[in-house]
Amino acid sequence: MKHLAEYRDAETARRLAAEISRIVTRPWAIMEVCGGQTHSIIRHGIDQLLPPEIELIHGPGCPVCVTPLETIDKALAIARRPETILCSFGDMLRVPGSHEDLLAVKAAGGDVRVVYSPLDAVKLARSNPNRQVVFLAIGFETTAPANALAVKLAAQAGLGNFSLLVSQVLVPPAIRAIMHSPGSRVNAFLAAGHVCSVMGTWQYAPLAQEFRVPIVVTGLEPLDLLEGIRRTVEQLEAGRHDLENAYPRVVTERGNEPAQAVIAEVFAPVDRAWRGIGVIPASGWRLADAYAEFDAERRFDLGGIRAVESPRCRSGDVLTGTLKPSQCPAFGRECTPRTPLGATMVSSEGACAAYYNAGRT
């Protein structure tokens, strides 16, 4: 509980913001990679404390937002089958597929359940031996260890009725893709603290050197973010481009090695499609060959599913930082959290929903 007060102190926040104003001399565009950072920035109004020279660009790190439409459609198809129980994290239920969302399938009789951990889905498989239990395994490196562990436990228990529909994605290839995109204006990155708590920071130092951008690992609390921004600006103004860890109470250089070991055992790298962005090479994980029998895409016939995005949704431009949510012509008009055109308007970590719900125009 202490964290809630300790890292939200108004006086310290003002002091950090004043220090940033003092050292900044020219415009800088800083991308926060993680949707949790975006949510916190808008929720606490952190951007409103910053000098006008600092522009925060909201990155592609919302797992709900970047899960491809095709994966959502596959989840919907699985959930419609009478013999299945589809388990998901809560905020995936509202994400629109091509024609409907999981809440609609649930209302029509599909067995769709919100779980708080993939291990709960394994328990469901154990207690429902005559049903197929499928867990919608989306997310960045943060969700991967528990998803991998769930598969490992299911394999150990010989559960033939448990499987994952996998859409795991990775941060470093996304940073690389953003820096290679022609329209990129990003001068520096705030790397996602919780991803680094699993993977460590060692993957990021080479990126900082290759693209000559400062990368600072931050937590999600207001003071974590402000301190991260301060250190980023300090580097930018000094012409440095180093990796810094501004979240040492949680993140180490090597990360959580037992978690990395279970990931390495259960998953293997794969090219992944990112919703709104496209395919990024080696940007995700699939189930490793030894665990392929737990892949829902193999277990169920989902081959015919191809999805087409709404042409009016410009979430790809939002996710790569070339368009502010409020600059999208559909924002707040035909696209609202109630009638989202794309996933960035659905999840509370999506930049569009964060803007809309906080009244930013």
Binding site: L4, R14, L49, M92, Y116
Partner: protein, 359 residues
């Protein structure tokens, strides 16, 4: 077979010993002896009073003396569905009484009488039902209301959620009390009677087995006593709301729209108990959007705010009352919050069900 004479059922008794069943069977809804048994042994045993005991098709209430001199009748109804039926801090029984009592109290009324209609699912243990009804009777006694009419239906197994209760209530608004959004003025103070989100998080933690069960209890409580104390200390109260479903976020948005005003609240003033705050953080829920069952929002003139706070804080259901924010002329229909670190954001009307975030 001879079809000449109608069958003679005189002297017929059902061979099945249904009357001794420990569970609700379809026959308990049939209107016959089983229904009568249920009413007598479960409902009258708990709720019995001279009006209900007559078991008429309707109950006749003499409110004349209370309405004399300009008192007005308040009338409200609500249905209660909750899973599990018993949770830390209460049960569907307390909710069914306190919820309707509070709806009446929010118009400034003294709640007097309730109706109670039960939809029972086949298979519900009668002992469990009796336990819930006893809790309901205790809540009614605590709230000072009588249950004066009722109904029972039975639905087939798996076609009900165990037990659904609908209560309606009548109360009397004293002469001179006229609460409503039309009374609200720019500059008025917005007061909250205590900590947020206790009920919703108690239900969620026990339902999902999150492990906070021991630490979080529902705040279900009757609030008309608190309202009466507030009205004595501050007769100019503009409006009262109990922030149940949709939480304080929904209630404040409704107030702002109905009154055509803006509302500004201070994030640092939002009272949330430490364990509830942690539970909300872990699940990615906003305590402003989580349900309460024993809290009220009061809009009062700024000059009466301290008197209102003092009166609420000396009442058992308002001792953590706090000044949450104020009514403003700017941004009509919009609720804004000043964040703890000095930023600001809008509090939107919650969309639908609260869904936990992925990370």
């Amino acid at each position: 077979m001879d079809h000449g004479l109608p069958p003679d059922f005189s002297g017929f008794t059902c061979p099945a010993p249904l009357r001794d069943r420990p569970q609700i069977v379809m026959g308990h809804g049939g209107g016959g002896a089983l229904t009568r048994d249920l009413v007598e042994h479960v409902f009258l045993a708990a709720f019995g009073n001279p009006v209900l005991d007559r078991l008429g098709d309707s109950s006749v209430l003499d409110l004349g003396p209370r309405l004399a001199g300009g008192g007005r009748l308040a009338f409200s109804t609500d249905s209660y569905v909750v899973r599990p039926l018993v949770f830390p801090g209460g049960s569907i029984g307390e909710l069914a009484v306190n919820g309707t009592v509070n709806d009446l109290a929010m118009s400034g009324a003294e709640p007097l009488h309730l109706s109670a209609a039960f939809i029972l699912e086949e298979g519900l243990a009668i002992a469990e039902l009796a336990g819930l009804v006893a809790r309901m009777a205790a809540a009614a006694k605590q709230a000072g209301v009588t249950i004066v009419t009722g109904d029972t239906k039975v639905v087939e197994r798996s076609r009900g959620d165990g037990l659904t209760i609908t209560t309606a209530g009548v109360g009397v608004v004293p002469p001179g009390v006229d609460l409503g959004p039309q009374q609200i003025r720019s500059g008025d103070a917005v007061i909250l009677s205590g900590t947020l989100a206790d009920h919703g998080m108690a239900i969620m933690s026990v339902r999902e087995g999150l492990g906070f069960e021991a630490a979080i209890a529902s705040d279900t409580a009757p609030l008309h006593g608190l309202v009466a104390a507030l009205l004595v200390a501050c007769p100019q109260v503009r409006l009262l709301r109990d922030p149940t479903r949709g939480g304080v976020a929904a209630s404040l948005n409704e107030i702002a729209v109905a009154a055509g005003c803006g509302i500004e609240i201070d994030e640092r003033a939002i009272p949330v108990s430490p364990v509830v705050a942690s539970a909300c953080e872990i699940l990615g829920l906003d305590p402003l959007q989580v349900a309460n069952e024993g809290k009220l929002l009061a809009v009062v003139p700024a000059e009466s705010a301290q008197a209102a706070l003092a009166a609420m804080r000396s009442h058992e259901h308002g001792h953590q009352a706090t000044l949450l924010g104020r009514i403003v002329a700017e941004h009509p229909g919009v609720v804004a919050v000043r964040t703890a670190i000095g930023g600001s954001r809008i509090i939107p009307l919650p969309l639908g069900e609260q869904l936990p975030r992925i990370c």
